[in-house]
């Protein structure tokens, strides 16, 4: 595929401004329809029965009493699904347990009933006979040879013989020689770091509404980051043709990676199929926390060698991530990204993918990267501070630049890491005074960013306005970005374009809204679709003028004769061309379908001040500044919003959020009361500095911005807390009991 390698700077008219978002009024008036807001005539309530055990063989399920209850229209268990293709077998098993329940909250049966009350009652009538098995929820415990085993036969050839079958895969990245590098060091920091599992914490629970007729045609309304993914996955599980399942994305109340997989949807479709009625399913908050896709808990060993001048001579990390009950933790992403901000001669990371009796990890914003950055950036900080060196200068000295061979292999093109560090160095935050019990920390972060399959259709209406259809749910203002890029490319005002999210019947395949891809990839396709429409409009104008179409160019919203014909005819505006479209060949549209590969990587530096209460171990965030490269900020307000939101999710991860499992393997804090995401009063304003180092892979220079902002905060806050406490914090969350214990241990010598 061809990307525009335009490095030239252009003068933008719309891009870079801050117009009102097109879905704003719907969302401030309550009109916007989210997952649970849809109703259909005759609709039933679907509910799921979940395992109360962390690990148990399901010996028998008797649904007869539930089926006999008045108002119950369908009961579904795994037996209803039959064999499914291998590539969705784990998804199927996660949506509805087969032989074994693998975690507390694992779905084992479902009902559809005439009311929520009947559904609740029906669940109690389902008899499940369990044989409770030993369980393991800790990542290190799961790797021990005597650990309870979740699956036999899933270990990859990459794992040395003799390890627990829970260890699924091993990977290794890097270059140079660690031992040589360590010998050149004046100081080696070697520590083990641990992070707790956290949840994306989106405020909207999963919800969907399914219908399926006896003819096999089905419709699904769902809150998801990718309705095309939902279609493809559900079709595979239910043995349907993809074209027979139309999925419409509702507005989505947050996802952050957690809505890139299916949980309820295949079950809702099966209930709809069996009952012949529409079935709506909505998770409770406790179901969301117990049984969707939190991120990994981790255990990471790091060794950093540094000279007394601050040069990193060697960087090593061994990362163990548990990804829940099925293979596929994001450990590889952690192993590839952790040292990516640095130009290192000797670097090596080893990643271990481990299964445990926890819900299967889904993606969470830069999946895998924040934990690796926490460990590595903490070790770099400790080494630098050990020599009394400025941690920003050390990062600048070792920072990656254009031409650096990245720790994960490739050589970087133009990148923005050093720009973020330089901006941090000259920012007033860096030189502001600190008081007693206060500390300042910095850390860098990296994310790859993605592209992927993308379709955009752009239609010119008869009155000369423009509609854009895209296939990615608008999770944080992307309708505004697409509208802006279409308006920019067509040279028309923002308010003459309207962007909608099309259902799966209306466009070709679209990759999930993930990997910070939408503004980059859908934006690219929108620009290309606009370019196609412009070319067609130039052709129509050429017909009218009776000149060659190559002699027409598009500028400022109108076709203009160019070259030898320049000035011979007055420009024809988009509206004028649209008005005569029927006379010149028919409706005008542009579309673009592409696998948008070649997204540009992104870097950030975060700076944070904290204050500790030495009597209670409590941490207060005093000041926070994000410096990040956006390539080109299409709508700066929403770029800032991504920076701020990522930083605050990171603050939660660093200080309070954690999955707490009891000895019994049951989740202890399945609610927003004790799964403590940051509240407004916990926080200061989050300052942002947007840097714009254009991505050569995008016509406007856009880079994804959504994920990088969660990578540095864990380490930045740990570095700040460690500075304030005078003791190195190596375990997240840095909850008050943990900080107080560290302070007391230090005081006790």
């Amino acid at each position: 595929m061809a990307l525009d390698d335009t490095k030239k700077t252009r003068d933008f008219k719309v891009v870079g401004t801050r117009p009102d978002r097109p879905d704003g009024i719907d969302k401030v008036t309550g009109r916007a329809r989210f997952g649970a807001d849809m109703v259909l005539p005759g609709m039933l309530t679907g509910r799921i029965l979940r395992s109360p055990h962390a690990h148990a063989r399901i010996k028998r399920i008797d649904t007869s009493k539930a089926e006999a209850l008045s108002g119950v229209k369908a009961v579904v268990t795994r037996a209803d699904f039959g064999e499914v293709p291998a590539d969705v077998a784990d998804v199927m098993d996660n949506c509805m347990a087969g032989d074994k329940a693998l975690y507390d909250g694992h779905a084992v049966a479902a009902v559809a009933a005439s009311s929520p009350a009947v559904a609740r009652k029906a669940l109690k009538l389902i008899e499940v006979e369990y044989e409770v098995l030993p369980h393991v929820t800790d990542v290190d415990a799961a790797t021990r040879p005597d650990a309870p085993v979740l699956h036999e036969g899933r270990q990859q050839e990459t794992v040395p013989k003799g390890m627990s079958a829970n260890v699924i895969a091993r990977s290794e990245f890097g270059h140079g020689d660690i031992e040589t590098g360590l010998k050149q060091a004046d100081r080696v920091v070697a520590r083990t770091y641990r992070t707790a599992a956290t949840h994306q914490g989106y405020i909207e629970p999963h919800a969907c509404l399914a219908t399926m007729g006896p003819d096999g045609k089905a419709d699904l309304w769902v809150c998801t980051q990718g309705h095309y993914m939902v279609r493809n996955t559900c079709a595979a599980i239910l043995g349907m043709e993809q074209g027979q399942l139309r999925v419409t994305a509702s507005e989505i109340g947050g996802g952050f990676g957690g809505k890139t997989v299916v949980f309820l949807e295949p079950v809702a479709l099966m209930l709809a199929k069996k009952s012949g009625r529409p079935v709506k399913m909505v998770m409770s908050r406790s179901e969301v926390l117990r049984a969707t896709g939190p991120t990994s808990s981790t255990s990471i060993d790091v060794r950093i060698g540094m000279t007394k001048e601050g040069r990193i001579t060697a960087g090593f990390a061994e990362l163990r991530y548990q990804g829940g009950a099925y293979p596929g933790s994001p450990v590889d992403m952690g192993a590839m990204s952790g040292f990516a901000p640095y130009d290192l001669e000797n670097v090596k990371t080893v990643g271990w993918d481990v299964v445990t009796n926890r819900p299967k990890a889904a993606a969470y914003r830069a999946p895998g990267a924040p934990m690796a950055a926490f460990a590595i950036e903490s070790a770099i900080d400790e080494a630098a501070r050990g020599f009394g060196l400025d941690p920003l200068e050390v990062r600048l000295m070792n920072g990656a630049d254009e031409g650096t061979k990245a720790s994960y292999g490739p050589t970087y093109p133009a990148i923005g890491l050093k720009a973020t560090l330089e901006a941090a160095k000259t920012h007033p935050h860096w030189s502001a005074p600190l008081g007693e019990n206060q500390g300042r920390g910095v850390a860098c972060g990296f994310w790859f960013n993605f592209g992927g399959d993308t379709c955009v259709s752009l239609n010119i209406t008869p009155d000369g306005t423009v509609t854009v259809s895209e296939g990615n749910p608008d999770i944080g203002g992307s309708r505004a970005s697409m509208t802006m890029m279409a308006a920019e490319e067509l040279g028309i005002p923002y308010d003459q374009v309207r962007t909608i999210i099309a259902d799966t019947g209306s466009l070709g395949q679209n990759e999930v809204t993930d990997g910070s891809r939408v503004t980059f990839a859908v934006g690219l396709a929108t620009i290309k679709a606009a370019q196609a429409a412009k070319a067609e409009m130039c052709r129509r104008a050429a017909m009218v003028w009776g000149i060659d179409e190559d002699a027409v160019e598009w500028a400022d919203g109108a076709a203009r004769p160019a070259g030898p014909n320049a000035g011979k005819f007055p420009p024809m505006t988009l509206k004028e061309i649209a008005a005569i479209a029927s006379n010149t060949g028919g409706p005008i549209a542009g579309h673009h379908e592409v696998n948008a590969e070649g997204a540009g990587v992104s870097f950030a530096t975060h700076m944070v001040d904290v204050e500790l209460d030495p009597d209670t171990g409590s941490t207060k965030i005093l000041r926070y500044t994000v410096f990040q490269d956006a390539g080109k900020a299409v709508h700066p307000s929403y770029v800032e919003g991504q920076f701020q939101g990522g930083a605050v999710q990171g603050i939660g991860w660093a200080l309070n959020e954690e999955y707490i499992y009891g000895e019994d393997g049951i989740l202890q804090n399945a609610g927003f009361l004790d799964y403590r995401i940051p509240v407004a009063s916990d926080l200061p304003m989050i300052d942002t500095v947007i840097l714009e180092i254009p991505n050569p892979g995008h016509p406007y220079g856009v880079r994804g911005v959504g994920e990088t902002s969660i990578v540095p905060p864990l380490a930045a806050i740990a570095n700040a807390v460690s500075a304030a406490a005078g003791v190195r914090m190596t375990q997240l969350p840095m909850s008050p009991p943990r900080v107080l214990a560290a302070l007391q241990a230090q005081a006790d010598g």
Binding site: M1, Q156, E157, T158, R170, S171, E172, F173, G174, H175, Q200, F256, G257, G258, T260, P330, D332, M333, M336, K348, V350, A362, A363, Y364, R365, A366, P367, Y408, G409, P410, T411, Y412, P413, F448, N449, F450, G452, D514, G515, S516, R517, N595, E597, G598, A599, G697, E707
Partner: protein, 81 residues
């Protein structure tokens, strides 16, 4: 011939080599060539990989051209959130 850099543990499946050479002008030829020349790589190739070609990352585009002097690095399949 194109020189392909493998990630550390992948080298174990390719006779210990961190850098291997295959005859390829496109991404598809590259992936096919690798699997043919180093059967040990096949499980990982089947699980899916990403490929960095001159600093840009590709997942699926078979006909992405690769020049003989291109920098080609095999990566674990990337996933986002």
């Amino acid at each position: 011939m194109v020189e392909v850099v493998l990630w550390g543990s992948l080298a174990d499946q390719a006779e210990g080599a961190r850098k291997v050479e295959v005859e390829a002008g496109t991404l598809r030829e590259l992936l096919d060539g690798l699997g043919e020349k180093f059967p040990g790589l096949r499980p990982e190739l089947e699980r899916g990989v990403s490929v960095s070609i001159d600093g840009r990352i590709y997942n699926d585009s078979w006909f992405q051209p690769i020049a003989p002097d291109s920098e080609v690095v095999l990566l674990k399949r990337l996933k986002g959130g």
